[in-house]
């Protein structure tokens, strides 16, 4: 990009100082109003990277990369001709000449200057606060520095500040294997958001996680050793805490130095004073938005939602759009967070400051639960605090300011405690705000369904922006979408196919509960009226076949998928235990667990491929695929493979495919665990497990992630303390990074968790639904799955484990069984009446020293048909 420092009269210039979340939203707001077309837009960004999701900063420690956190689509910047200067902060502003000078020396004239400089971490002025080993927690660079120091030099760490960021920082230290302490000056954790009761519930849960909490004490001095590095800290109660590093997280202050230097008015305690349009009170050409601004109500807002609102307000004002007179007069400080796995939420008048208000409190410190509602004299819900279970946050927040239609007690009592009721979001008025990050009202969400034909949550998110920032309202969104679809008379037939009105999950429950091991039995008893007694269809037969196979040992079915009636249910590929190719020939994939294979194994495969004239290719899953086998050749090929110790690779099945691995600590200089051994163990444990869709896995021996575990249905990454388990990843057409399910697991813990996860997926997923789409679809998403498989919230983990144990105990190689069964072998012929005659349609021609299919071109043309429930 070349700078054109002179603005011409024809194109007025907007200079934005600061490219954080609010700055980026401001740019989007400019573009939406067409201002990027009429104005030159210059952005000066101090950090070395463009805007990223600072709210999710801590997720860096659970595996998100800086790229994952980015909020800046470079295509957006380029499309709108925005000049973005990264790593080049504004140094001075000359308001008289309307010029900004950047650190690089570039000078930009402006018509409008927008300051979005954010805030800086407050570090208390204690001795040695800048010593080696002292950090703040604000930028990606801060996190990189903390990570490097924790890994190389620290075994204990202390966080100064027990607020939101402090708890996140402490959790991050613990995740890095550092013994973590939290030092909070106030008498409780999260003093701004929760009251004493909530703080007590929080404290108990945090301490149970192994974090040490010191409340009611201040930091007096950082103690350093002879090398100048941190060795401890002196506290206000006279005690001393030994620690190798200190992270200051004691609040933030507005970054207003640039404004002060150019004479703009700032507040007594900082913040650039602005009016309701976010224009500075001193200069009509200068605006301030986000955490650096002191709003007209005298407050500095440190949350992203008010910042976004200010960005929109400033953009609307600059556009001078009379139809859209936005003002910013203050904002709601409601928050819902998941801190170290604990739900914490506060909304409205959480501390009950209104006159004559009353509290309704439910407290169970044994289970770390605390819920308080603040109720006005007339019954109006004014606010509240939820700790340990913030399920009701979305609904309660939306009801704030009105009298809820049910008694307040029933809203805080736990489920099952008599009077508790679920107050659905359908009871909300249309102007209730559902997504406060993006200021989306219920009416807008309903309109997305009724007027814009959105039928799914992802569509509604795209259409309305609701749920796209912090995600806390997504659950309520889902309920609203379903309710709206039902209300508009869209009959959603959730049945599996034309034969069954039940979903796959319901059929699974029926099969398991009633131990039904016959498809015909299931169809005749539970099929739709018109389908009973019939032959089913190509959708439900394999789906039910898969359910029966997954549960075979438990429901008394054969564990061999070609036995009896089961043979008739299998998809063509499973029926021949090979993958059908376009000319009617098959491909063969032997299992190569973890991708580890001996030279002898390679030679056997090579000899077989050579002897049968097969085309060979290395697969993406670290195996070898042999193509071009005719159906009658399959048993001959497999007899040799089985003799050499190979087993079915189930490349044809909706079942576990491969568990890829990197070479791990045995050979690799960076490896921290034996990833190959773990991959082999996992592959052998789950081989043959029939599931709603194929399952892929990988194990990486260190955080470099060479095995690409985060693109797998379940991926494992070694840590110095054990294994991190990721779930729901996918490659293919809609790639999805896997989510971290649990950290630092032992071998046994890892396997137990995967057992539960897979069985829960098999139980609840739809037909042909990969774990990635399943995680996105099921209510509650990852949090729900974690509750079920880690916390055992449904009390089913024992059952899930025993189902998997039964699978493992009863596994047998399908190909070994088949080649030893003459009756089954008789099926492997091209022609029932001419078993020795090969299918003449299957022909091959040479290509690059191997074969390829030679298909007579007598076809009508390809038109893939996907099975659909509507048929």
């Amino acid at each position: 990009m070349t700078a054109t420092p002179e603005a011409t009269e024809a194109t007025p210039t907007i200079v934005l100082v600061g490219h954080g979340m609010v700055g980026q939203r401001f740019l989007e707001a400019l573009a939406e109003r067409g201002l990027t077309a009429t104005h030159r837009v210059v952005v000066l960004c101090e950090e070395p990277r463009p805007a990223y999701d600072r709210v999710a900063l801590t997720s860096y420690f659970s595996g998100k990369t800086p790229e994952d956190l980015s909020m800046t689509d470079m295509a957006f910047i380029e499309t709108h001709g925005i000049e973005l200067y990264v790593g080049d902060p504004a140094e001075t502003v000359d308001r008289e000449a309307r010029k900004v000078t950047a650190r690089s020396g570039q000078v930009f004239e402006y018509d409008v200057l927008v300051l979005a400089t954010g805030s800086y971490p407050f570090v208390p002025p204690v001795p040695n606060k800048d010593a080696e080993g002292c950090f703040v927690y604000r930028t990606i660079e801060d996190l990189l520095a903390i990570e490097a120091y924790a890994k190389s030099k620290a075994t204990t760490g202390a966080v100064v500040g027990g607020g939101l960021l402090g708890l996140e920082a402490a959790g991050a230290l613990k995740g890095l294997g550092v013994e973590a302490h939290i030092v909070e000056f106030a008498p409780r954790l999260m003093p701004v958001q929760v009251d004493d009761g909530g703080g007590a519930a929080l404290l108990r849960t945090i301490e149970e996680m192994g974090l040490s909490v010191h409340t009611g004490v201040g930091t007096q001095e950082i103690v350093v050793g002879s090398d100048g590095a941190v060795t401890g800290m002196k506290l206000s109660d006279g005690s001393e805490l030994a620690t190798d590093m200190v992270v200051f997280s004691a609040g933030v202050r507005p970054r207003d130095q640039l404004a002060r230097d150019c004479g703009l008015t700032v507040g007594e305690r900082g913040g650039i004073s602005v009016d309701e349009q976010c224009r500075t009170v001193s200069d009509p050409h200068v605006f301030a938005i986000g955490e650096c601004a002191l709003a007209s109500d005298g407050r500095v807002y440190g949350l992203v939602a008010p910042g976004y609102e200010q960005a929109e307000t400033a953009a609307a004002t600059i556009a001078a759009d009379e139809a859209e007179e936005l003002t910013f007069t203050g904002a709601d400080l409601s928050t819902k967070l998941k801190l170290l796995g604990v739900d914490v939420a506060s909304f409205g008048d959480a501390h009950g400051t209104a006159e004559d208000c009353l509290d309704v409190v439910y407290s169970d410190s044994r289970s770390g639960l605390y819920k308080k509602l603040v109720i006005g004299r007339d019954g109006t819900l004014l606010g509240g605090i939820l700790v340990g279970d913030a399920e009701a946050y979305g609904t309660l927040k939306a009801f704030t300011g009105s009298v809820p239609p049910v008694s307040p007690e029933s809203l805080v009592l736990p489920a099952g405690a008599g009077e508790s009721v679920q107050l659905g979001p359908t009871a909300l008025p249309d102007d209730a705000i559902i997504c406060s990050c993006n200021n989306v009202r219920k009416g807008t969400i309903r309109a997305a369904v009724t007027d814009h034909q959105c039928t799914t949550v992802p569509e509604v998110k795209k259409c309305t922006k609701a749920g796209t920032t912090c995600g806390s309202c997504v659950k309520v969104l889902g309920q609203l979408v379903t309710a709206e679809l039902e209300a508009s008379g869209v009959e959603v037939d959730k049945g599996l196919c034309g034969c069954f009105s039940q979903t796959r999950e319901e059929l699974y429950e029926i099969v398991l509960a009633l131990r039904i091991n016959s498809y015909q039995d299931l169809l005749d008893r539970y099929g739709r009226d018109g389908a009973k007694g019939g032959d089913g269809c190509e959708i439900c037969k394999p789906a039910v076949g898969s359910i029966i196979a997954s549960l075979a040992p438990t429901i008394g079915a054969s564990n061999y998928v070609l036995d009896g009636e089961q043979a008739a249910l299998q998809d063509s590929n499973d029926h021949f235990l090979a993958n059908l190719q376009k000319n009617g020939s098959y491909s063969v994939v032997p299992r190569i667990p973890g991708g580890e294979i001996t030279p002898e194994g390679l030679i056997v495969i090579g000899e077989i491929a050579r002897d049968f004239g097969l085309y060979t290719k290395i697969t993406g899953g670290q195996r070898i695929d042999m193509f071009g086998a005719r159906v009658e050749q399959l048993p001959l090929i497999w007899t040799r493979l089985v003799d050499a110790g190979f087993e079915s690779g189930h490349a044809y099945g909706k079942s576990l495919r491969t568990v890829k691995s990197c070479v791990g600590q045995t050979w690799c200089r960076y490896g921290v665990q034996d990833s190959v051994r773990m991959a082999i163990d996992l592959e052998l444990r789950y081989r043959g497990l029939r599931s709603p869709h194929k399952l892929k896995s990988a194990v990486s021996g260190c955080a470099r992630e060479c095995a690409e575990a985060q693109s797998k249905d379940f991926g494992v990454i070694a840590t110095s303390g054990g294994w991190n388990l990721y779930v729901g990843g996918n490659g293919g057409a809609t790639p999805r990074h896997a989510d971290l399910l649990a950290q630092d697991l032992s071998d046994a813990e890892l396997i137990k968790l995967i057992d539960r996860f897979l069985m829960f997926y098999i139980r609840t997923a739809d037909r042909l639904e990969r774990t990635s789409t399943w995680l996105e679809r099921i209510p509650g998403g990852l949090d729900h799955v974690r509750d079920v498989v880690v916390e055992d919230s449904l009390g089913i983990c024992e059952e899930l484990e025993s189902l998997m144990t039964a699978h493992v105990a009863h596994y047998a190689d399908e190909w070994a069984t088949t080649i030893n069964d003459p009756e089954k072998l008789a099926r492997f012929v091209s022609f029932v009446n001419a078993p020795d005659t090969p299918d003449p349609v299957v022909g091959f021609v040479p290509e690059r020293d191997q074969i390829k299919p030679d298909l007579p071109l007598l076809t009508i043309g390809h038109r893939p048909l996907e099975g659909s429930a509507q048929r």
Partner: protein, 116 residues
């Protein structure tokens, strides 16, 4: 050799231009699955048996993909009509009329079939 059960005596026959052509024994056909037969003129037929024992025969070639694989497809009942779904790209064909259920203009040959 032991005495075979009664079904092994039963043969499946297809009607061709010059009379009934014996394909195989009835018990080679699993309910819900098919087999392929090579006809004297080189054509191929796909034979199926439904759960009630009724037999069907259609041309074995998938007219969309070109491969002779319809005998390896899954069968089912759609609005009371028996069908087979091609294992290639899943188009369904009525087993009695040969009509493709997903593409009106496509129909495959059918054969009379009996047990004798």
């Amino acid at each position: 050799m032991t005495l075979a059960p009664e079904t092994t005596d039963l043969k499946i026959q297809l009607q061709l231009e010059d009379g009934w052509f014996t394909v195989c024994e009835l018990d080679r056909l699993l309910p819900g699955r098919g087999v392929a037969a090579l006809l004297p003129d080189g054509r191929q037929a796909a034979l199926f048996r439904d759960r009630h024992g009724k037999l069907y025969a259609v041309d074995n070639r998938d007219p969309f993909g070109g491969a002779a694989v319809l005998s390896r497809g899954l069968t089912g009942t759609h609005q009371g009509r028996p069908f087979v779904a091609s294992p290639l790209l899943k188009q369904r064909f009525d087993l009695e009329t040969g009509q493709c259920l997903d593409e009106e203009s496509v129909r495959i040959a059918t054969y009379e079939v009996r047990v004798a």
